[in-house]
């Protein structure tokens, strides 16, 4: 379903399919027709379990699907340009400059042999073609902006000398130094302790807002999206099953899977009993060509097993991919 992008849409994904071949069995279809529009200045939360395709989507936007995976079909438009048509050189200019990524576990993802100051400065140096001195000064200012105490000393620190929260701030500095228009946060705060996590999230939100950038906030924690995102999208088995404004979503979750996630969070036995199937009753309904969630769904009907549901809007700005959305 190709919607015409609104004028203010910065990222437009249409019908994106990505698969990874598996030896001796059918390929894993990590993404099965993702449609997603992100408007300028908007922060959209993408929630899914492990293996639902969240990280693959992030890498697909960056045009960095790891081998042997590949994009089977679909298009990703960033600021009106089809990313798949760009040369490696042009993509390199976009990565880290226009589209930046905030990663989890920064202590293993930062280069252990390079000081963090240099790692921040490098990004500015190559993208903004700055001389070394100016890039260093900019990196220093960035360290200050992400509220790292004593930035002068930290500039010369190596990643292993930083705590998890500090390293996370460094990664944010790297992501924000070129004032990107679009930021992808891939489960970025999942490695942090809760008391530190909220500080980091608030800082990230402030900085992104200051720069007027858009953000795709990928997470396993549906709780975070309630407090930090404008929109929420739920991804299941490589498909977006529900997407809505945050308030609309949490006031009125419509997809049985969304409801199941929320009820699991509550630990309320009655709610969980209502919305989830016990593991031994779960069946694999994928082969039938119907709804991918049908095998685990408490509301599944015969239609669900045969017919693949399309994304539809029951009310404006709230889409759900379900034959029997929850109505209240």
């Amino acid at each position: 379903m190709a919607t015409t992008p609104e004028p203010s849409t910065i990222l437009n994904i249409e019908g994106l399919h990505v698969s990874y071949p598996v030896y001796e069995t059918a390929p894993v279809r990590a993404l099965r027709g993702i449609d997603l529009q992100v408007r300028e200045g908007e922060n959209i939360g993408l929630v899914g379990e492990s293996g639902s395709g969240k990280t693959t989507l992030a890498r697909a936007i960056m045009q960095l699907i790891s081998r042997p995976g590949r994009v089977d079909s679909g298009r990703i438009e960033f600021a009106g340009r089809d990313l798949s048509k760009l040369s490696e050189e042009e993509l390199r200019a976009i990565r880290g400059d226009d589209i930046a990524m905030v990663i989890p576990n920064p202590r293993t993802e930062l280069n252990p042999l390079v000081t963090v100051g240099k790692q921040i400065a490098n990004v500015a140096r190559y993208h903004l073609s700055l001389p070394r001195k100016e890039a260093d000064a900019m990196a220093m200012a960035m360290l200050d902006a992400v509220q790292i105490p004593d930035p002068k000393r930290r500039f010369k620190a190596y990643p292993h000398e930083l705590s998890g929260g500090m390293a996370q701030r460094v990664v944010m500095a790297i992501a924000l130094i070129c004032s990107p228009r679009f930021i992808i946060s891939d489960d970025a705060t999942s490695g942090l302790d809760v008391t530190v996590q909220t500080q980091v999230l608030e800082l990230l939100q402030d900085l992104v807002q200051q720069q007027g950038a858009s953000m795709l906030f990928i997470t396993r924690d549906i709780g975070i999206t309630a407090h930090y995102c404008h929109q929420v999208a739920i991804i299941y088995a490589g498909e977006i099953v529900e997407i809505a404004d945050t308030a609309s979503f949490f006031d009125n979750p419509q997809h049985p899977y969304s409801v199941m996630l929320l009820s699991a969070f509550s630990h309320n036995p009655k709610l969980r009993g209502m919305w989830s199937k016990p593991e031994e009753l779960i069946e694999n309904a994928e082969a039938g060509g119907g709804c991918l969630f049908a095998g685990r769904c408490v509301r599944a009907s015969d239609t669900c097993l045969k017919e693949h549901p399309k994304m539809r809007s029951i009310r404006p700005g709230h889409g759900v991919r379900c034959h029997h959305p929850v109505e209240r």
């Binding site: 809760v194 008391t195 709780g223 309630a226 929320l262 709610l271 969980r272 593991e279």
Partner: protein
Amino acid sequence: MSVVLSVQNLIKHFPIAGSRSVVQAVNNVSFSVSRGETLALVGESGSGKTTVGRCILGLIDPTGGEITFQGNRIDKRNNVRSRHLRGKIQLVFQEPAESLDPRIRIGVTIGEPLRSLGSAREDRDKQVREMARRVGLEEEALYQYPAELSAGQQQRVGIARAIITDPELIVLDEPTSALDPTARSEVIDLLITLQKELDTAYLFISHDLSTVRYLSHRVAVMYLGMIVEQGSSQDIFSRPRHPYSIGLLSSVLLPNPRLERHSEVSLQGEIPSPIDLPNGCFLASRCPFVEAQCSERMPDADDIGSGHLVHCFKHRDVIDDEKGTLDYYERFQAEAEKLLSSGQQ
């Protein structure tokens, strides 16, 4: 209630290679667990909660303090591997896949603890089947290898292996944090059911507050190797008194945008390094209520009723009881129930 495990003034310091300083992982921890009870050790990474569990299991030797299990003191000589204690204390790990030998069939893995108890092979087979049934594994799974099972099933195997020796105490080290929400709640339900059937004591080590809230009878909040507050689950979650507990509880983001967090008690900065800890309260550098005496000496435990212990000089001033808004889990539950219990076909 009979006390199964009692820990007194437990200390564990890890030496640092090439240095005279030590990592002060556990500092003076005392608690006890009774039959059929779940005590949760809650804390962030580096709070020493896992180290406490490993000391009890004899996987590391404590630096000081006393661990008593059913009246027997546990030490280097006399530990969980000794004949009279064997199989009485069991454990379940966080990473279900890593806790099973990838080359050994599930059935053999579940039955292995019986081997050292010297039970006959036929007997073992029967028990393995029985345990599999109890944890909800199909018989077919007994012939499979760990990689062929889902994470939730793997964790069930881990639990079956733990309960097969009919232990008095199970140390559960973050048994659910690697699982997806649905599998997680099923494993939690299983643990609760088994506890009711077997009357086992659980020491539940976790950083996941919502699970702790649901599963445990009592909670001990750990920070930098100390228990800063302990009490009944009800007390800790709805009337926390230690600034750290409050900060920790209000940091959790619940999936309801209307539930505002208490930012007035939010903790500043990061957890200090557990090397060369200060003399005073460990939280002094992050606490919004800090005063002079906090950085001079460590506050003693203050019993504020029914076993609710707080290590804080200012716990009376920290929170305004009248507001009574702290238990936002409670409010979340209420709202969730209102919202989600309608609409099923």
